[in-house]
């Protein structure tokens, strides 16, 4: 049904003339049964709160109030506690269909969102090193009949850009400006008396209007169902990328992160339910550009960091495990005295998992997808079943 309502535009020409307000879709070619969903967490999600190393003696001290939701959670593998908002993902982990890789990082070592996301998406060693993305290069390795890529967004994100033509889809209903953007606009106008006054008034009016959707579980469930519908059937997309925003929790992290994770958890659960039997052939990769500081900052949040968390879920995942060469959180172990030190290559985790999922040779696939990665130990990780 959703497919029928999509607006279609002819491929290359229409894509370059940029339909600015109308959603557009451009299909590629037409059969492995395997499906991949890459969910990027834009804004640097806090891995240390998502899968909290509560067994690390330094953790509670570094995190203060931010640790409150986590310290009482049951420990997985003796060291880590999953955020309580991730109940469904926790159930998948218990059912051996979810796996976590901690203290991971791409080759990028600075702290700019833009540059970090570019490295994560292009697979390059440096920002803006490559014009194409690793998901698109993956498509070139699949049989042409299965190389159907799709972005659940109005435009094609960097990871899906490249030689293979891909589709994009965003719901036709105009999205409300995200709550996160509204907050930032408030900051933008703080010093401008005219705009500040107008903005406060606009927000108050909007808050009074009914049906203001703040995302959360409802939004996540709808997004999961949408993605599943786009992957359904013989002609459905096989490689899908979805973007999630709102992870940049410099302040008010406890509530905001809980809401973010609730949405993500609902998305994964909804995707699993709606895919039905196809879930058995599905791999979901969830990753972010970098992590956040080990210590809480002064505004109830955390700042840009380095090492983070990646999550894999799906029917092909050899789950119920946490992959981590845990570096420790004591002062001497932190990266540049502030961040979780990366000890595992995120590229190797993603590349290894994706290669195994599509039964491709990791020794060929990983360098192709992540030429910027120096790691070659991907094959050893064995994340995916045959």
């Amino acid at each position: 049904m959703l497919i029928g309502r999509r607006q279609m535009l002819a491929a290359a020409g229409a894509a370059t003339t940029a339909a600015l307000f109308a959603p557009r879709i451009a299909f590629a070619r037409a059969a492995t049964e395997r499906r991949l969903v890459f969910i990027i967490q834009r804004g640097a999600a806090d891995g240390l709160a998502t899968l909290a190393p509560t067994g690390d003696p330094a953790y509670a001290g570094l995190r203060g109030d931010l640790a409150a939701d986590l310290l009482d959670q049951p420990k997985l593998g003796g060291m880590f506690a999953l955020h309580p908002a991730l109940a469904q993902l926790g159930a998948l982990y218990a059912g051996k269909q979810a796996l976590f890789a901690h203290a991971v990082a791409s080759p990028y070592r600075d702290r700019s969102h833009f540059d970090g996301q570019n490295v994560l998406e292009t697979g390059g060693a440096l920002p803006y090193d490559r014009p194409d993305g690793w998901l698109n290069r993956l498509l070139t390795l699949l049989p042409a009949s299965s190389a159907r890529g799709l972005a659940v967004s109005a435009t094609i994100p960097t990871a899906l850009r490249g030689a293979v033509q891909v589709a994009s889809y965003a719901p036709t209903a105009l999205p409300d400006a995200s709550g996160d953007l509204l907050q930032r606009v408030a900051a933008l106008y703080a010093a401008d008396p005219q705009l500040h006054g107008l903005w406060q008034e606009a927000l108050q009016t909007r808050a009074m209007a009914a049906g203001f959707d703040s995302g959360g579980a409802k939004g996540g469930t709808a997004a999961g169902a949408l993605i599943a519908s786009l992957m359904a059937g013989a002609q459905g997309a096989r490689v899908v990328m979805a973007e999630t925003n709102g992870w940049d929790t410099h302040s008010g992290q406890r509530g905001r992160l809980a809401a973010q994770l609730t949405g993500l958890d609902a998305l994964i659960a909804s995707l699993r339910d709606k895919l039905g039997p196809a879930w058995a052939d599905t791999l979901v990769v969830i990753a972010t550009e970098f992590g956040r500081t080990a210590a809480a900052n002064g505004t109830g949040g955390t700042d840009h960091g380095t090492g983070s968390l990646a999550m894999l879920a799906g029917g092909t995942v050899l789950g119920g495990r946490i992959i981590s060469d845990w570096p420790g959180l004591n002062a001497a172990s932190l990266y540049e005295n502030r961040d979780l030190k990366p000890t595992t290559s995120l590229d190797a985790v993603i590349g290894g998992a994706v290669a195994a999922h599509f039964t491709l040779d990791p020794a060929i696939v990983v360098p192709r997808l992540f030429p910027g990665s120096s790691s070659s130990s991907a094959a050893a990780l064995s994340l995916i079943g045959g």
Partner: protein, 469 residues
Amino acid sequence: MSDNARALNRFGLGARLGEPIPGDPRRWLNDQITQFAPRPEQIANALTTPQLIALLRESRDEKEQLKAAAQASGADPKAMKQANRAAGMPAPYADLRGAYIAAVGIRTQVALTTTTPFAERLVHFWSNHFAVSVDKIVTLGLAGAFEFEAIRPNIMGKFGDLLLAAERHPAMLLYLDQAQSIGPGSPLGARAAQRGKVRGINENLAREIMELHTLGVRSGYSQADVTEFARALTGWTVGGLAKQPALQGPGPQFWFAAPVHEPGARTVLGQSYAAAGEAQAQAVLADLAVHPATARHLATKLARHFAADDPPPALVTRLEQSFLKTGGDLPALYRVLIDSPEVWQAAPKFRTPWEWTVAALRATGAHDVPAKSAANSLQQLGQQVWKPGSPAGYDDIAASWAGPDALYRRVELAQRIAERSAQTIDARALGAALFPGELSPATAQTMARAESGPQALALLLASPEMMRR
């Protein structure tokens, strides 16, 4: 604001992604006066006034046939209309609506791609000055052609020529009811009187010419002047549209219908105008075009548009004097603006929805926005193109545009534009290019802290700098 930022934003339509900052801002502006292209490719391919009038006539006839068919069959016209729509038949005026949307698309595309944005701003200014609002069905299709054919070719000449072209255009004659005005003493008026019918003058256009287009309201003209001018204008109509055989005339185009022209000499503002047919009203217009009150009125509007909501008196006087000295030479006025410190130094003006949308799209390098999207966006932002709802045109002051919901909608649209823009845009670098030397630390910082490239771009498009020019 730096001179470059002012040239790009206050005089121009906002910097275009990837275009170099003008080396000498004043020279860049001056050069546009001669470089302006009145008829770029997109406009050369647009529907022309005769084609649009033909469409108008067909639509009108079609609607009347439907009505007659409904009456003949005893059906409820409303129910029949619904049934026709359900059967997939286009509404009677669908073609005109389509022509309107297409023209909005052309106007937007030209604004996005032009290399003479100062000149295009002047097109928008004069088009609004001579507003023909599309809330009348007769102007729906023609509003675009009016701007393309009457305004654009005349903004770099004498005001008198621009005035004449605007008033003679069928869109204006139809919009302000001049096309139906009949002199009671004209041959046709006299015949009607003999049959006991009262056919008369419609003074709408005459009044608005004096009040809005030339002298300005409360500038000393009387009701008698309006009536006399209206009499002089009788006969100025549109050929090829009317149903009465005597009024069909050659067309579809401007037509001086001698059979409805009021005979005799006229006196307007103390000046006598001998009977001269079409040339009589033309002579009145020529005098109105160079009248001191017109100079004052236009100087005030230009100063308001380019300097401040409350126009600086010294600038108004300077423009006024130039206008009187040159007999209404428009490029001379534009040069006064370029040379006036008030324009470069005044506090920024709040952008209208049109100005903001064009600036935001130019900033992201957009060049081919779907016409319908452009039209819908402007409607959502509160400034539907060519639909000010009155011949006075859209307001040119912040109080009319700076509202809470209007601002919220801009932020929503900023997010949409940013999400649909190339992800290769680095908003941080773009901010510096859009507002050379002017980007505030607050905006720079908020962008730098954004969680993604598109979010940073949305914040730039929503920034205080972007809301003003």
